[in-house]
Symmetry: C2
Subunit: 361 residues, 2 copies
């Protein structure tokens, strides 16, 4: 079992990574909680909930299940979880456990942040992408007019990352999580990037998975510890996300996963970075890795004008230009403000390249 | 103009108290906010909104109005204010101003705490009771099954307390606010208590009002600075509230104001304190002060069994007993656990006394 210690502005907490370790959570529960509420989604309920509940050696364990999927990060589910917490008699010394992917983590974390003005919670991430969402303390729900607009900074007391549960993760979700790992590699060091580009997601071995998660989490943790509230360097974690979010919104949620969109966004950011800074970012190898692992490229459905205006409404933009994270080199991110015309030109070239694939294949 | 500095765990902020000072807010706005959203209720909108908006010398000032009254502290109004903030294009460097009583302060403060994971806000309290709600950083909305169950600790950046606006406050609301001032006097020192007992609320003079608010705020601030998250001494601020909340809930919101219920709760707590600790708490003088100022005593509508079970469901209780804040002496609060039988006995005696008034009048 690996242990990573994260410092937040309010407290320090451990992330444990290992196989089957969810059953050991009971042993590391330090506080004497008056009751426990486990929140999960309906996929995970079927797969893992019962045995997990039984492993919690406490006489007041309750559970609440939300429908799987992004649409559960809603004000209605938020309120319903509060109702459940009240109904089960949770008080200020109760514990909430978020048992699931990023959706459960973000929603249940926000409920914990606001139930009686904040109770303890623990993240038990069950997706690869949730290595990202369970570190850094951002919790939120969506507003009908925008993602993650209602939320808090509220770090968990502990993260118990049991990679055994990742065995049942659909390949699409593995791809989604690995895109964020690639992002973290690009923000940290070239050897990690190389290592990932040598990984075939269909034949992932547990010892490699653990190592990748550990490196990804350490990268994210280092950035977040320096800038919890995203006033400076934390913005670099948006690498690949300006285009990624535009794509995700444009093609509709549920079509491409978050990470699949970010993967294409990373390819875009790398392509621009190479041109702006005249450096080799191994774009071709990255593209081939994406193809080998069956990342979708829905090029036929993409429209420059629509993508462009989506990028403009992204909250990180200002008037006549768009701010983007680029790389001066692997491990060296910078914020760059690109004029509208330039962005349009890059978009045009990028989509052409995706259609023709001549430079990369 | 008076200035009180409050230390919270995240930052230090000033409370300004004075006449007509709302029009000076513009001068003390330090940050360069991208836009401003003023939240108020429909009573205050009619009375004070326009001139206040005009005094804000900023080219992006928006406003949103909620219906006056406790029922606006709801999940629906919470979501609607988020919608308004999005619609007006507020971003992370925008400012929210809560312009109103405790209802506006609690609701708008919670919106500020959660909009894009937290933006700055300023309290401009317009009721006497809001001297209490605008200090200490507690913000919240109600759940249909309980008051203030959904919320955060999120202190404002500044409080601008313009007592000029208190001129239009209905007497009922003045009584409500003064009950909390009496509570703060009881928690701090006898001379403040004496001073209040010599105050006729019908003929309140501004210099006295300012002085009382300043003392009340200082008392609250001192307690809250030591124990922001209510793990210890902050609980003392519940003096009078165990019975007060039971009364408020029993007679239905809108019948008695919060402070009017707390006033009777304080009388109950003092009566018990005198018996338990054999000290003189000037209960008779306090009762006469309440009568002089027309505090309501709806004794005929009170039922011991119902009040008792309301007190039991209050979140501060445990099984066979009820925890209450009592006074060993004026300025010396203690938490006491009273057995169910004893509480019932005290309740019986107290209601009898209220009905007969013989000991007090
Ligand atoms: N808070 C943050 O810092 C942060 C960072 C990144 C992403 N996020 C959020 O995370 C969310 C996406 O997270 P996600 O990708 O984990 O989505 P998710 O939670 O919806 O999980 C994806 C799907 O996989 C299923 N699943 C989860 N674990 C499984 C398992 N072990 N076996 C089989 N199926 C399993 C789920 O039921 C769901 O259908 C988004 O809402 C995003 O905004 C938050
Ligand atoms: N956050 C805290 O620490 C804290 C502490 C105490 C109370 N509270 C909360 O405060 C709320 C009660 O606050 P309140 O008593 O100020 O209620 P309120 O905000 O509802 O105001 C009372 C009434 O007075 C009107 N009003 C306000 N200012 C006026 C003015 N200057 N002139 C004329 N009318 C005016 C309002 O429109 C309303 O009808 C409750 O919800 C309570 O839970 C919070
Ligand atoms: Zn992401
Ligand atoms: Zn009160």
């Amino acid at each position: 079992m690996k242990e990573i210690i994260i410092k937040s502005s309010s407290h320090t907490y451990p992330i444990y990574i290992g196989e089957s370790i969810r059953f050991q959570l009971n042993e590391v529960l330090k506080e004497d909680y008056s009751s426990i509420l486990v929140v999960t989604d309906d996929h995970l309920e079927k797969l893992y909930l019962n045995s997990f509940l039984q492993s919690l050696n406490h006489n007041k364990v309750h559970h609440a299940t939300i429908p799987a999927g992004e649409s559960s990060k809603s004000i209605e589910q938020f309120y319903q979880l509060h109702s459940a917490a009240i109904e089960y008699g949770l008080d200020r010394s109760s514990l909430l456990i978020a048992f699931g992917g990023g959706v459960v983590g973000d929603l249940a974390g926000f409920v914990a942040a606001t139930y009686m003005r904040g109770i303890d919670y623990i993240q038990v991430p069950t997706t690869i992408l949730a290595h990202d969402s369970s570190v850094g303390g951002k919790v939120a729900i969506n507003h009908e007019n925008g993602k993650n607009l209602i939320g808090s900074f509220y770090p968990p007391k502990m993260v118990v990352y049991d990679i055994e549960m990742l065995d049942t993760l659909p390949l699409k979700e593995i791809r989604s999580g690995y895109a964020e790992l690639i992002k973290e590699a690009l923000l940290s060091d070239e050897s990690f990037y190389d290592e990932l580009l040598n990984t075939n997601l269909q034949f992932l071995r547990n010892e490699h998975l653990i190592e990748h998660l550990e490196k990804g989490i350490t990268t994210k943790a280092t950035i977040v510890e320096e800038d919890e509230r995203e006033l400076g360097n934390r913005k670099y974690l948006n690498l690949g996300h300006t285009f990624g979010h535009a794509l995700e919104a444009e093609l509709g949620y549920g079509n491409l996963t978050h990470g699949e969109s970010v993967a294409i966004g990373l390819l875009f950011a790398l392509t621009i970075s190479e041109k702006e800074f005249d450096m080799d970012m191994k774009v071709k190898r990255f593209y081939q890795w994406l193809k080998m692992n069956d990342y979708p490229f829905p090029v036929e459905q993409l429209n420059i004008n629509k993508l462009f205006s989506r990028m403009k409404v992204d909250k990180k933009t200002v008037s006549q230009s768009i701010q983007m994270v680029l790389l001066k080199d692997i491990g060296v991110p910078v914020m760059v403000e690109l004029g509208n015309e330039k962005i349009n030109e890059y978009l045009f070239l990028f989509l052409e390249q995706l259609r023709q694939r001549e430079n990369w294949e």
